[in-house]
Symmetry: C2
Subunit: 359 residues, 2 copies
C-alpha cells in the first residue's frame, strides 16, 4: 500500500515484468550467489572485468565498460565521436532517451546538437536517413524503439540504413537499452546485430531485471577513452559491486528467456482482441513489449486495476500516460517472468476486469 | 592473495581503516538490517528521502541529494554557481580532488576555469585568499586537506577566510569528503561548520565506511537545480538502494566514533616516535588521518609489510606514493575501527617490523 493504494508489491501476480522482490530479499539473494566474488575498486576487479569481457565478446567487440547508467554511457559515446570528427551534431529519433529524458545533458555538458531523423510517430526509414541534409558525427538508432511500443525495422531496412550512414562517414551507435529483447524477432545473434554498429549501449535493469547498470561496448581504444569520460562524469565509482553482481546474475538467469518473453507478449496481445476500446502498437508485438492505447477515463481504468489487485492479487496497469488525442491513454506492457507465470484464466479475468463495465 | 602477495583480506588485523568484510558478507549484513526499507525509483523513495532530510538537518541546511559520487556532486555545485553568476572561475587548493583526480571534468564538461589559491604544499591562508586577484564564482575549501595529511586551519583562520570570501561575493563550497572526521578537533557541530558554507559535499565510503555514495547539501532551490544536473550527468539512477542502505547503516554505526578514530590516530602517531626514518604530517594528527613520510627503499618497506602480514596477520602499508624528494615515500594512514581494535603490543610489533632491519 502507498497513499492508500495497492502497489505491485501487494500482488502475487502481474501481467508485466518479473517477479517482485523487496530490496532486502534482492540483497539477500545477491549475497547468497556472490560468495568468492571480489570487490572492484574504481573500475578494476576480476569479477567486474570478466563480466565486461564476456559482454564485449557476446557483441563481437573488443571491449566493454560497466557504467552506472545509460544516460552516462550514451552521452559519452556521442561526445567521443564529436571530438574525434570535429562535428557536434548527431542524428536520432525524436523520441530518443537522449533527447527526451536527460535534461538536454548532450547539449549542456557536451555542447552537442541534435538533428531529428524522420518523425516522432514512425520508425526512422532509409528515406529519412537520406533526407538528413547536414553532416553528423553519429547516427544513434534505438532497437527496439521504446516510445513506439517497441517497433523494429525489418532486418533488410536496418541493413540499408546502416549502409547509407556508413556511406556518409557517420559513426553508428546502437541504443540497445532493450536490445536483448529483439534478437528472437530478427533471428540474429547479438554479434550479428552489433556488427552493423561501431558502438553499443546495453542496459541491465529492464528485460534483464538487475538493480541498475549499463555497459558501453566498442573497440578497445573507444572504451579506453570512454573510461576517461566516465571519470569526468563521476561514474567511476569507488565500488560498483552490488550493481555488477546483480547484472551478472540477472543476465545469466534471463538471457536465455527472451524468446519466452516475446511469446508471452504475443499471448497477452491476443487476449486484448475482444475489447473494442483498446488498440495495440505494434500488433502483433515484435519483442516482449507493446503499447496498449486505451479509450475512456483514465480514472476508471485505474480504479478497476485497484479492484483486480484487491480481488485477484493481479497487478495490471502501473501507469497511464496521456496522448495528444483526448480520451486516449497509453499503457506500456513489457512482458517478463511474471507474464510467463500468469495463466490464461488469470489473464482473461484481469482484462475482463479492466475493460468490462461493472454491472 | 593477489599476484602472489598477501592483501588486506588475508589479515585479521590492520593499522588503518575498518574491519574487512567480503562483498558477499557486506551484502548479507545489508540485507539483514534493511527489512522493510523501500526501493527508490529515480531518486524518490521513503528510505532515501528520509536519509537525505536527516543529513540536511545535521548540517543545518534545507535539503540534500544523494549522488553516486563526489566527483559528480562537486562539479555540479561549481556549475550551478558559475551559471548563476556568469563567472566561470572557481578557486581551490592546488591538490583539490576536483583538480587532480577528475580528468579535468570541470573544464571538459562544464567549461569552468580553476584558479589556484595559495601553494600546493601548505593550507590556504587568509593571505592567500586576499592574493586571489580575479573574481571567482566559488571558493572550494577542503576540510581536512587530504593531500596534506589531513591538516586543518585553525577555526579562527577558517572563519576569517570565509568572511573574506563572502565579502568578495563568492559562493563558499565545502569539500567535506572527510568532514565527519574534523568535528572533534574543532569542537563544533556539523551545523556550525556548515554555517560557514553555502553548500557542502559529504562522502559515505571513507570514514563512514559505506560501499560508495555522496550527498550534496544546500538550500532547497540549489538542491532542486542540482537534481537536474544529476540527471544530465547520468547519476539519477533507476535504483540506488544498495548504496543508500549501506550509507545510512554505516552512518548510524560510525558517526559517534569520530573522536575515537582521532584518538587512535594520535596513539598510532606516538608509536612512530622511536623511528628516525619517519616524519609525520601533521604531527600530532588533527583528524583520524595523517601522512607518514618514509625514508629508504619502498621495495624494502613493502617486503617487510608482507612479512608482518604473514607472521602476525597485521595489515600495514597498503601503498607507498613517491614524493618529489628522492628516497622519500608517503604512507597515508586513515584510522578506523581496525585501528581502535589493534592493541599496543600489535602496534609496536608492526612498526618494529617495518622500521627495524632484520638482524
Amino acid at each position: 500500500m502507498k497513499d492508500g493504494l495497492l502497489t505491485r508489491a501487494d500482488c502475487a501476480h502481474a501481467i508485466a515484468g518479473h517477479a517482485y522482490a523487496s530490496p532486502a530479499d534482492t540483497l539477500r539473494a545477491l549475497a547468497q550467489r556472490s560468495a568468492g566474488a571480489d570487490r572492484d575498486l574504481y573500475g578494476v576487479g576480476e569479477t567486474l572485468n570478466a563480466f565486461e569481457r564476456k559482454i564485449a565478446k557476446l557483441f563481437g567487440k573488443e571491449a566493454a565498460v560497466f557504467m552506472p547508467s545509460g544516460t552516462m554511457a550514451q552521452q559519452i559515446a556521442l561526445r567521443i565521436v564529436a571530438d574525434r570528427t570535429g562535428r557536434r551534431a548527431f542524428a536520432a529519433h525524436a523520441t530518443s532517451h537522449v533527447v527526451i529524458h536527460e535534461q538536454a545533458g548532450y547539449a549542456r555538458l557536451h555542447d552537442l546538437a541534435f538533428v531529428p531523423a524522420g518523425t516522432p510517430v514512425a520508425l526512422i526509414s532509409l528515406a529519412d536517413i537520406r533526407a538528413v541534409a547536414e553532416p553528423v558525427a553519429t547516427l544513434l538508432l534505438e532497437l527496439p524503439q521504446r516510445e513506439l511500443g517497441g517497433e523494429l525495422s525489418t532486418w533488410d531496412e536496418l541493413v540499408a540504413i546502416a549502409g547509407e550512414a556508413r556511406g556518409r562517414g557517420w559513426h553508428l551507435h546502437l541504443d540497445g537499452a532493450r536490445v536483448w529483447e529483439c534478437a528472437p524477432y530478427y533471428g540474429k545473434t547479438y554479434a550479428e546485430i552489433a556488427a552493423l554498429f561501431d558502438t553499443v549501449y546495453v542496459s541491465f535493469y529492464k528485460g534483464i531485471g538487475a538493480i541498475s547498470g549499463a555497459m558501453l561496448i566498442g573497440s578497445q581504444a573507444f572504451i579506453d577513452e570512454a573510461k576517461v569520460w566516465q571519470r569526468r562524469h563521476g561514474g567511476n565509482l569507488y565500488s560498483l559491486f552490488p550493481y555488477v553482481f546483480s547484472a551478472e546474475q540477472s543476465f545469466d538467469e534471463r538471457i536465455g528467456r527472451m524468446a519466452d518473453y516475446w511469446q508471452a507478449a504475443q499471448r497477452v496481445a491476443k487476449a486484448f482482441a475482444p475489447y473494442p476500446d483498446v488498440t495495440l502498437r505494434p500488433s502483433p508485438p515484435v519483442t516482449n513489449m507493446f503499447h496498449a492505447f486505451l479509450r475512456g477515463s483514465a480514472q476508471t481504468y485505474l480504479e478497476r486495476a485497484q479492484r483486480i489487485a484487491a480481488e485477484r492479487e493481479i497487478w495490471t496497469i502501473n501507469k497511464l500516460a496521456p496522448t495528444p488525442t483526448p480520451g486516449v491513454f497509453t499503457w506500456e506492457i513489457s512482458c517478463g517472468d511474471a507474464t510467463v507465470a500468469l495463466n490464461d484464466a488469470q489473464l482473461a479475468a484481469a482484462l475482463d476486469g479492466l475493460f468490462t463495465p461493472v454491472g
